[in-house]
C-alpha cells in the first residue's frame, strides 16, 4: 500500500475516534466553541488529505459535514440534535469507507447522497446542484454516474501508485514503531541503567574482581543502548517534510500554478513530540502559500515575475531555538482586505484597525474563522488553519511571526524553544537531592572551600566570589530553595551562570556530570515556582527538577543584589527608550544572511569601508588599526564570514575612550520608521524584531555587542541622568508578563513582576519604591479591581497611579474603572496605548509629587 495512504489511514482512524467523542460532548454543550473548532479542524484535515489522495467519496462526505459545522461555528445556525445525528452518521460512513480502504486500498464503489443531501439541506443550501432530491435518487444508480466522476478516481489512483514506486527507491529504510513501544523501551532502559548502577556499587564493595570485565562490558553496552534509545526520540524535520513535494505537486496541478519547492535544513533534528505537533501546521502553511500566497502564472507574468512560483522551507538551529521558515514569493498579504475583514467581523473597532501597523494587522489572520479568500475551494479558504497553526505552535511554547511585502511574498517564521527538545544539563546536588541546570547558561565551575584560594567572602552579609578581578554575587541554592544546606554556605562548588548580561554564582554542594535530558513541563500546581522550569527523568530513573537560570536571576534581583546588572540594564534602556513611540532613524544592513538587520542610527558613530587585508588577528579575535588605535571588530551575526579581500563595511561605535567595529555584509539604507517591536525570546543580541521597509528586520541590541569588544564597556557606572520609574506589573499569565516585560524595559522602566493580587500587595507592602502599577483586570481569584480597592484603603498606596489592562472592554468595566481616581484604562494588547498612558501617568505623577 502507498505509504501516504497508510499514514492517512492511521491518522484518520485516530481523528475519527476523537471526533466521535468530541461530537457527543458538543451535543451536550453546543455553546462550547472550543470543542466545535476542534471537530471542525479534524474534519477539515480529513477532507484536505482526501483531496490529495484522490478519494472523492471521502472528500465529498467530509466537505458536506464541514460546511454544516462551519455554519455552527460561525453562529449562523443553531445546533440541533438531528444535525449532530446526521454528522455522526456521516462519520460512521467515513469509517466504513476507511475500513474498506484498509482492506483493498481503493474506495469502495457507491454514492453518499443519502447523507450529503440532508447535510446540504441542513446547511441551508439548495441541495447539491439544486436538483430535487427525488430526481437525484433516480440519478443515483451506479451505472448512470456522471462520466467524469467514474473516470477521475482511477486515474488519480494511478498517479499515486506511480509516485510511490518512484519514491520507494530513494527512501531511507524505516519501519513504523508505535510510540508506546518506544516509550516502553525508554523506561526499560532506564530500569536497566538503575540495575547496572546497583551492580557496579556492589562490585565496588567486593574484593573479588572477576566480575569486573563482564561488568564493564555490561556498563558500556547499557550506556550505548541508552543513547540509541534516546536518539529514537529525535527525528530530522525532513520526515515531516516528506509529504511536501507530493503535496505541492498536487496543489500545483489543482490550482494550475507551476510551483518550485525548495527545502533546506531537512536534517535539522527535532524532538519527536515537537515534530508531531508542528507537522500539521507546516502542511497548512504550505497549502496556504500555494493557494493564497502565489499568484496565477498570468498574473505573475503581468507583474514581470517568473511564471513559476517558489515555496521555500528552511530549518535551522539558532540561539537555543529551532527556527522554521515557510516563505513564498507571491503577492504578500492583502492588508487592506485583512483590515476590512477584521472590521466587518467586529474583531476590533474600525478606528483602531485603521491606526494599526502592518505587522499588527497581519496578525488578524490568526483569529479563528478568519479567511480572506473569496471563494471556498477544496484546498483552503475556510479560515481554518492559521488559528489552529498558532494554537499548536504556542502549545509547545513556540512563537509564530509573519512578514509580508506586497508583491514580493510572505514569510512565516516559526520559532520553537528548546524546552521540549533534549538539552544538556549539569547535574548538581544540594543535601541528598539532585537538580539539573541547563548547560547553556553555565559558564564555569569554581571549587570553593574556606581558607582556600577560591573562597566565598561576604559584603554586608551578602556572599560574593572574587573571579578574575570581578565580584560575582553568589547565592546558595540550598537557601534559595528554602532548606538549610547540610554543609556551610562556603564549601562546595560555585556554578557560574550567565543570564542575559547578568552573571552570578550558584553555590551547590556537589557536581556530578553533564547529561542529556528531556525536559518535561512542570505540573500546573507547581508552575508558579519560578526557580524551576521543568523536570526530567534521569538515566537512573529518578525525577529531577530543572533549575531555571532566568528564575534564579529574577529571585536574586528581588533580593536586591543586582546593582551591577541594574546599571547595565539602565545603559541598555538609555539606548532603546525612544524606539517604541516615535519614528526612529535606522541604519538598515545585512549580515550573515539575506534578512534585514538594523540599529538605531543615533548610536552609530561612523560608517566605514575598510580594506579586508587590513584586518589583523590576535588569537581568534579580529582587529583593525583605526585612527591610530587598535579597534576590536565584532561580527553582527554568528553566521557572517569576514572577508579576506576587497572592502569590508563596518559600523563604528565609539565613546570618548573606546571604539568597536561591527562587521556587516552590506549597508542597505537609512530609513525613518515608526517601530512596533516584537520581543524575540532567547536572543539577547536583539532588542526585538520589527517591520522596516515592509520587511522583517532584526533590531540589534548594541549593548550585547559592546562587551564583546571591551569587556568592561558597560560596567562603568552608567549614571542615570533621568530618574528611572519602577512599574509593578501584575498579571496572572506568564505568557503575557513575558511579552510585556521586554517592551516596558525597552521603554526605560524598571520592572517588578507579580503573578497575583496577593503577590502585588506583598510587593507594595514591602520597602520597594513603586511608581506606578500596571494590572490586568481579569485574573482568577482576586481581580484587578480588588487590587485597586485594597490599594485605595492603604494610606501608603492610595495615591499610586494604576493602569488597568483588559482584553475585553465592556462599558460596565470602563464605568467601574472610572469610579476610581487615578486609574487609566488600556486595552490589553495595545502596547502603544500602554506606553503612552505610562508616560503620561508617571510624568504627571512625578510633577505632582
Amino acid at each position: 500500500m502507498d505509504e501516504l495512504l497508510r499514514e492517512f489511514l492511521t491518522e484518520t482512524s485516530e481523528y475519527l475516534d476523537t471526533v466521535d467523542m468530541e461530537l457527543v460532548r458538543f451535543e451536550r454543550n453546543p455553546n462550547d466553541s472550543a470543542i466545535l473548532r476542534n471537530i471542525f479542524r479534524l474534519v477539515h484535515t480529513i477532507k484536505g488529505t482526501c483531496g490529495f489522495l484522490g478519494l472523492p467519496r471521502l472528500e465529498a462526505l467530509a466537505h458536506a459535514a464541514e460546511t454544516l459545522m462551519g455554519r455552527f461555528r460561525d453562529g449562523e445556525q443553531a445546533v440541533t440534535s438531528r444535525d449532530v445525528t446526521l454528522i455522526l452518521a456521516t462519520i460512521d460512513r467515513i469509517k466504513h469507507i476507511i475500513t474498506e480502504l484498509e482492506r483493498t486500498s481503493v474506495e469502495p464503489p457507491g454514492r453518499d447522497d443519502d447523507l450529503i443531501l440532508p447535510l446540504e439541506r441542513s446547511s441551508g443550501g439548495p441541495g447539491r446542484r439544486g436538483i430535487d432530491p427525488a430526481i437525484l435518487v433516480a440519478f443515483d444508480e451506479p451505472d448512470v454516474q456522471p462520466p467524469g466522476e467514474g473516470s477521475s478516481a482511477p486515474s488519480q489512483q494511478g498517479a499515486v501508485a506511480a509516485e510511490s514506486a518512484d519514491a520507494a527507491g530513494g527512501r531511507q529504510q524505516t519501519i513504523r514503531v508505535a510510540v508506546n513501544t518506544l516509550e516502553h523501551l525508554m523506561t526499560m532502559v532506564s530500569e536497566l541503567v538503575l540495575t547496572r548502577n546497583q551492580l557496579l556499587d556492589i562490585a565496588r564493595r567486593h574484593e573479588d574482581n572477576t566480575f569486573n570485565v563482564p561488568l564493564q562490558r555490561l556498563s558500556h553496552v547499557t550506556a550505548e543502548l541508552q543513547e540509541s534509545v534516546m536518539k529514537t526520540r529525535m527525528q530530522p524535520i525532513g520526515t515531516a517534510w516528506q509529504k511536501m513535494p507530493r503535496l505541492v505537486r498536487d496543489l500545483s496541478a489543482e490550482l494550475g500554478k507551476p510551483i518550485d519547492l525548495v527545502m533546506r535544513g531537512a536534517d535539522t533534528e527535532l524532538d519527536r513530540q515537537v515534530l508531531d505537533i508542528i507537522k500539521d501546521p507546516l502542511t497548512h502553511m504550505v497549502r496556504n502559500a500555494a493557494d493564497h500566497g502565489l499568484e496565477s502564472p498570468a498574473e505573475r507574468r503581468a507583474l514581470g515575475k517568473p511564471e513559476r512560483g517558489t515555496i521555500r522551507l528552511d530549518a535551522y538551529h539558532e540561539g537555543g531555538t529551532i527556527t522554521i521558515e515557510i516563505a513564498d514569493d507571491g503577492r504578500g498579504l492583502d492588508l487592506p482586505a485583512i483590515k476590512a475583514k477584521a472590521i466587518a467581523r467586529g474583531l476590533a473597532p474600525a478606528a483602531e484597525v485603521e491606526r494599526m501597523s502592518e505587522a499588527q494587522a497581519a496578525k488578524f489572520i490568526f483569529h479563528p474563522g478568519f479567511s480572506t479568500a473569496e471563494a471556498v475551494t477544496a484546498v483552503s479558504g475556510r479560515g481554518v488553519g492559521m488559528d489552529v497553526v498558532k494554537t499548536n505552535i504556542e502549545l509547545i511554547g513556540g512563537v509564530i511571526d509573519i512578514h509580508s511585502e506586497p508583491g514580493r511574498g510572505t514569510i512565516f517564521t516559526v520559532k520553537i524553544p528548546l524546552t521540549l527538545a533534549i538539552i544538556a544539563a549539569l547535574i548538581v546536588s544540594v543535601g541528598d537531592q539532585r537538580f539539573a541546570i541547563p548547560q547553556m547558561a553555565v559558564l564555569e565551575l569554581v571549587r570553593v572551600r574556606p581558607g582556600a584560594e577560591q573562597r566565598v567572602e561576604t559584603v554586608n552579609g551578602a556572599p560574593v566570589l572574587r573571579l578574575r578581578e570581578r565580584l560575582l554575587p553568589v547565592m546558595s541554592l540550598a537557601r534559595l530553595l528554602g532548606r538549610a544546606g547540610t554543609k556551610e554556605d562556603d564549601d562546595g562548588f560555585i556554578v557560574v551562570i550567565q543570564v542575559g548580561r547578568q552573571r552570578f554564582g550558584l553555590l551547590v554542594e556537589g557536581v556530578f556530570h553533564t547529561e542529556e535530558i528531556v525536559v518535561k513541563p512542570m505540573s500546573r500546581k507547581l508552575r508558579h515556582l519560578q526557580v524551576f522550569s521543568g523536570n526530567t527523568i534521569l538515566g537512573d530513573g529518578a525525577v529531577v527538577l530543572i533549575i531555571d537560570p532566568n528564575g534564579v536571576s529574577r529571585m536574586l534581583g528581588a533580593q536586591g543584589v543586582d546593582a551591577a546588572a541594574f546599571a547595565d540594564a539602565l545603559a541598555d534602556m538609555e539606548e532603546t527608550r525612544e524606539e517604541e513611540v516615535e519614528a526612529t532613524a535606522l541604519l538598515v544592513f545585512r549580515a550573515g544572511g539575506p534578512g534585514q538587520k538594523a540599529v538605531q542610527l543615533s548610536l552609530v558613530t561612523r560608517l566605514e569601508e575598510i580594506d579586508a587585508t587590513r584586518i589583523e588577528w590576535i588569537g581568534d579575535r579580529p582587529f583593525v588599526q583605526y585612527r591610530g588605535r587598535l579597534m576590536p571588530l565584532v561580527t553582527a551575526s554568528e553566521r557572517l564570514v569576514i572577508r579576506k579581500e576587497g572592502m569590508q563595511p563596518i559600523l563604528v561605535f565609539s565613546d570618548a575612550e573606546r571604539a568597536m567595529g561591527l562587521i556587516v555584509d552590506e549597508i542597505v539604507d537609512i530609513v525613518d520608521e515608526r517601530l512596533a517591536i516584537d520581543p524575540v525570546p532567547q536572543r539577547p543580541d536583539l532588542v526585538g524584531s520589527a517591520v522596516v521597509r515592509g520587511q522583517a528586520t532584526e533590531l540589534l541590541n548594541i549593548a550585547h555587542f559592546l562587551p564583546l569588544a571591551h569587556e568592561d564597556w558597560l560596567r562603568r557606572a552608567a549614571l542615570p541622568n533621568a530618574p528611572v520609574r519602577t512599574v509593578l506589573l501584575v498579571d496572572d499569565s506568564d505568557f503575557f508578563r513575558g511579552m510585556l516585560a521586554p517592551v516596558l524595559k525597552a521603554a526605560g522602566y524598571r520592572l517588578v513582576l507579580a503573578s497575583s493580587v496577593d503577590e502585588a500587595l506583598e510587593v507594595l507592602a514591602s520597602q520597594r519604591v513603586i511608581d506606578v502599577v500596571v494590572s490586568d483586570i481579569e485574573m482568577p481569584g482576586k481581580t484587578g479591581f480588588d487590587l485597586i480597592e485594597s490599594m485605595r484603603i492603604d494610606q501608603r498606596t492610595r495615591h499610586l497611579p494604576v493602569i488597568a489592562l483588559s482584553s475585553y472592554i465592556s462599558p460596565a468595566i470602563v464605568e467601574r474603572a472610572r469610579r476610581y481616581s487615578g486609574v487609566e484604562f488600556v486595552a490589553k494588547f495595545d502596547r502603544g496605548g500602554l506606553l503612552a498612558a505610562l508616560a503620561a501617568t508617571v510624568d504627571g505623577y512625578g510633577a505632582a509629587a
Binding site: 516509550e183 523506561t187 532506564s190 530553595l481 528554602g482 500546581k525 507547581l526 508558579h528
Partner: protein
Amino acid sequence: MSAIDPAISASAVDDGIQYVTVTVGEQLFGIPIDRVRDVFVVGGLTPVPLAPPEIRGLVNLRGRVVTAVCMRRRLGLPAREEGAGGTVMAVGLEQGDESFGLIVDGVGEVLRVPAETREPRPPHLGGRWASLASHIHRLDDRLLVVLDVDAVLAFDGEGGAS
C-alpha cells in the same frame, strides 16, 4: 471488609456505581473507578522545594512524571507516623493532560455500591471535608465517603501558596 451484599449486588449490578476504596486515617473513601488510572506503590519520591504543602513530590511512574498529592494533608489530618507500614500507596488519576497520584494510607478493593444507598453529605461535615466529599454511601458496616476528585486536586498551586 465484606462490604458487598450478594443480594444487592446480584440484583442491582447494572445501576450500581463502582468505587476504588482507600483508607486515609480511620476513614474509608471511595474514588469513582472511571477516574482511576492505576494504583501504584510510590518509590523514589522527589520532593519539590517551595511547593504547596499538599504536594509530596514527583514520582517516575513508568516514564511518566506524576505529581504526588498527600491525602492526609489535603484532608487536614496529621502526617502518618514515620515507619508506620512499609510501602506508600497511591491512586493514579488524570486531570487535563497531567497525571496525579493521591497518596493514601491503604488501598482496598473495588466496590460496586447500589445507588439507593447514596446519601447527601451531612451538612455539618468539617470545612475541608465538606468541599472534598461529593456524597456518602451507607455500607453495611461503615460509611463510604465519595471523593470529588477535581475538588481534591483544586488546591491553590498557582498563587503564592504559603
